[in-house]
Amino acid sequence: MERETISSREIIVIIIMFLIGNSILMGGDSVAGKGNWISIVLGALISIPIILIYIKIINDYPGKNIFEISQELFGKIIGNIITILFICYAFYLGAETTRVFTEFIKIVSKPETPQLMIMLVASVIPIYLIRSGIKTIGKWAIITMVIGSVFILITFILGPALDKLQNILPLIEHDALFYLKDAVYFFSFPIGEIVLFLAIADTFKKGENFYNVYLYGVGLAIFIIVYRVLRNLIVLGKEMLKFSVFPSYISLRMIGVGGFLTSVESIAFINFLLFGFCKAVILLLVICKGVKHIFNINNYKILVIPLCFILLFFGCINYKNVIQLFEFQKNYPYISVWFQIVIPLLILIVSRIKKPFKKWLKN
């Protein structure tokens, strides 16, 4: 099968959309309250060495994904175990994304429609995009990013009321350790999730500067998330923010220009659809590539329909309701640390030991 590639610009846009994904609606509003943005910035700083590990792996094995790399380094059995673990991780994240997605649609506009039916209708887009190939996904991501950015800009211009600026004061409420703990949580969700880009690294063009790609991708995503968190905090205030399941939606509901332009919450709805779809597409792509690797199938695209439906199944059964989903999120760093730090670090260490050893054996 011909190798498909995407440009660095498309990777940047996909990284931004993937990171914003469902966090545009639910994430980033953690326990730190008024100091949320401090936790986010700290989380971004923590992520730098970890992201460097990912970039080094991509640079060491150009044109290969993490499944192929782990098989090359650890052999077929351990390589397949790592692949299965990553598939499970992608299933877990995919199920969470689809569930948040449909819970939101259900709460906002379709309370009577069965969840599975909403999921089935929404799944048409990821299935179509993956069947069309990574190039189409890249182009689609750029178009939707432009639309999404315009909407973000509109909310910025309409802006939160400046008289409520005191809502973000005092800037620092807790001690440093508290923010550090919160930053670790923020690293695990969503920044660390870009580890899954290692699974589609075989589609990255060889010879690109991945330091710049990740810098721009993650940097812009952090900027948008900080803006969103501050906006929500200014508009809603700390207490109301604590009890909001979808704070962006509620805060945009309250933004307006006098009595003239109000109820711009549909912007949050559209943005969430656009960015949420991107995250779902990438997660489904990772699952397809993983299953393709395990069963040694020629074309991963044929698997997209059954695997998408299995993903929807997990989206339905994993959580009873959205509250349970948020509760389980507290355990998330314990799961994610294995995929985001331990396995990539292990791969990098083993590859760095093995390569000189192989050279030495040849000589």
Binding site: L116, I305, L307, I310, F328, N331
Partner: protein
Amino acid sequence: MQVIIIILLYLFIIRFDLMVIKKRETKRDVIIYSVFLGISFIFLLLVVLDVKIPSPLIAMEKIIKGK
């Protein structure tokens, strides 16, 4: 109603997807595709028939908390 929708959906997939894949891909790939399609059909039927399936996350939570 949901059961009928699911059955019709899968009939549609078999007619317009499986048949196309059957012509283009190897026999082995078609079998793997069919197995996954069958699994997904059973899973979705279980959901629409409202069969209580324990969440895998409950087991994961117990492992994390060491219970």
